[in-house]
């Protein structure tokens, strides 16, 4: 056996699995999104018709699609900056010279990341309970009137954002912590000699040095947050009045509740297109940033 042939025996199983169970389905999804694949086609493929762009045009005319897109955008726009801000804050705290028990706090902050989403979403559903919830009780101690977090269309998505931030901030904290540890002490030393206080050091030393890591983190977080699904599934079932129905929630409903698999594939591709464009835009931003 030549070395080339041997090398192929090492990669072939993985490539075959990825091809059969990822690449092929992705290509098929694109084709499906141009068909009226529904429960009748599921029973007999003879009922399948190509409908061109109909699924996409139908989506554009469906108010619930725009609602889901708006809800998902709200989740991303509120959640990503809040998440990254808390991750950065936690990383700065753990990295601070005065910090004690660093390893302990790092582990504590990271623990929610490894938890099972469905289980912790259940916990938070009760924490947000308008009558028996710990959160409203805590707010009550501060003199704030109770909020019907998950029952009020205006508060349901912010509540899910708070939960998601709690669940996820530890992940980016670890990455930012690694970034912080690569900043040379001399930079801070020089800034101090120039008379920079803590805030000025953060602005002129820490943040510029972290910029590339922050951008990578924001791309990954944004992509993750656009895929919102299990949180509303467990906490609100997409409600109240569809205020937490996300793009993916709509896809699962269309696909596996109503069996409109063609329509659902179109939704999946819209999500993909949005992520693709936003990722390219952020890469372009990185490039401009690093050139400047």
């Amino acid at each position: 056996m030549t070395r080339e042939a041997a090398a192929w025996t090492f990669v072939a199983p993985a490539l075959a699995a990825l091809g059969l169970f990822f690449a092929l389905p992705v290509a098929a999804a694109l084709v499906l999104s141009f068909t009226d694949f529904d429960i009748y086609a599921l029973a007999d493929l003879g009922n399948l018709r190509f409908v061109g762009l109909d699924n996409y045009l139908t989506l554009l005319r469906t108010p619930l699609f725009w609602k889901a897109l708006g809800n998902t955008t709200e989740f991303v726009v509120l959640g990503v900056p809040l998440s990254i801000a808390l991750s950065l804050g936690a990383a700065l705290l753990v990295n601070a010279r005065a910090a004690r028990f660093r390893a302990f706090f790092r582990t504590v902050y990271f623990a929610p990341v490894v938890t099972t989403l469905v289980a912790v979403a259940l916990i938070w559903r009760y924490l947000f309970h308008a009558q028996y919830g710990l959160i409203d009780w805590g707010l009550g101690l501060l003199g704030i009137a109770p909020i019907d977090w998950l029952g009020d269309p205006d508060w349901a998505m912010p509540a899910i954002v708070l939960f998601a931030v709690w669940k996820n901030f530890g992940y980016n904290m670890i990455i930012l912590l690694a970034g912080l540890q690569t900043i040379p002490d001399e930079l801070y030393e020089a800034a101090r000699i120039d008379g920079a206080g803590a805030l000025a050091q953060l602005r002129h030393v820490t943040l510029p040095a972290l910029a590339p890591v922050l951008l990578v983190v924001s791309i990954l977080t944004m992509a993750g947050y656009f895929q919102l699904f299990a949180e509303p599934y467990v906490m609100t079932q997409g409600g109240p009045v569809q205020s937490t129905t996300s793009i993916l929630y709509l896809m699962v409903d269309q696909g596996f509740k109503f069996w409109n698999l063609g329509q659902a594939s179109a939704i999946a591709f819209v999500l993909f297109a949005i992520l693709f464009v936003l990722t390219l835009a952020q890469f372009a931003l990185v490039r401009r940033w690093s050139r400047a």
Binding site: A6, V11, Y109, V114, V120, F272
Partner: protein, 270 residues
């Protein structure tokens, strides 16, 4: 001095905020049915009881879901090791035509969200009679780009001279892989194993779609279903959450060095 106090106070405050939901879960899971539904919410059980756990494992078949999740997570871990490790090593250290282009293609594929593949994957599983089977649950995660990437980054540090020396001595490629490469890769194998285990354990959408029978369900799917039927039973649901979370939290605490180290290898060095 004042600054040191502020830093440590904030650290502790954030620590409390992070742990309160988990501590509350554990406390409520030990309360008598109905006890948590009071204003103000009780923080401790008046008389701690394991009645909720007894109900979960007695009437609600929790042991079966736990066994299903464990079986699937262990199989997913073994399969992930089997498929990703050889590929990751080959992309790092073996030469074959189109290797670097192929690798770039894999990385580019990371922008495609997994859910795009889900509907055709369901139809494929239906064709192959894999709907409602454990094999159906396992197929999407046999090989993953992330797993291949993780192993490749680590395998790059294996000295090529060591492999060449073995080749000069007449060892075949698989023999070299088993006796030299695998031992050198041990830390990243542990990392990959934890990632695969936790991913499988937490996976929700795909098992929800592909498994129909109640007795085949995984813990997260069963828990989500139970929570719709038992909305009022806060104590029971929190016991279910404890059962779901304890295995992964213990695994994380035992092996966190590998988990966090692997996360850095997979994200920053790239």
């Amino acid at each position: 001095m004042r600054r040191a106090v502020a830093v440590n106070a904030l650290l502790a405050l954030l620590g409390v905020a992070t742990l309160v939901p988990l501590a509350w879960m554990a406390s409520v899971s030990l309360m008598a049915p109905g006890e948590a539904a009071h204003t103000p919410p009780p923080l401790w059980p008046a008389h701690a009881t394991v009645a909720n756990y007894a109900a979960l494992f007695g009437q609600l078949d929790m042991a079966r879901y736990l066994a299903n999740s464990l079986t699937l997570a262990i199989l997913a871990t073994l399969l992930s090791l089997g498929f990703n490790v050889t590929a990751g090593y080959a992309f790092a250290k073996l030469e074959f035509r189109g290797r670097d282009r192929l690798f770039r293609l894999l990385i580019a594929a990371l922008v495609i969200p997994a859910q795009v593949a889900m509907i055709p994957l369901f139809l494929l599983c239906k064709e192959l009679a894999l709907v409602n089977s454990f094999v159906g649950v396992l197929v999407p995660n046999l090989a993953t780009v992330f797993g291949i990437f993780l192993v490749r980054q680590y395998a790059l540090s294996i000295p090529t001279e060591m492999l060449e020396a073995a080749r000069v001595d007449g060892a075949g490629e698989w023999r070299i892989f088993l006796s030299i490469v695998l031992p050198a890769l041990t830390p990243i194998l542990i990392t990959l194993a934890i990632f695969a285990f936790v991913t499988s354990w937490s996976d929700f959408l795909w098992p929800l779609i592909i498994l129909n029978d109640a007795d085949k369900q995984t813990l997260p799917v069963a828990l989500a279903n139970l929570s719709r039927e038992h909305v009022q039973d806060i104590e029971l649901m929190m016991a279910g959450a404890v059962v779901t979370l304890v295995p992964v939290l213990l695994l994380f605490l035992a092996l966190q060095r590998f988990y966090i180290g692997g996360l850095l290898a997979g994200s920053v060095k790239g």
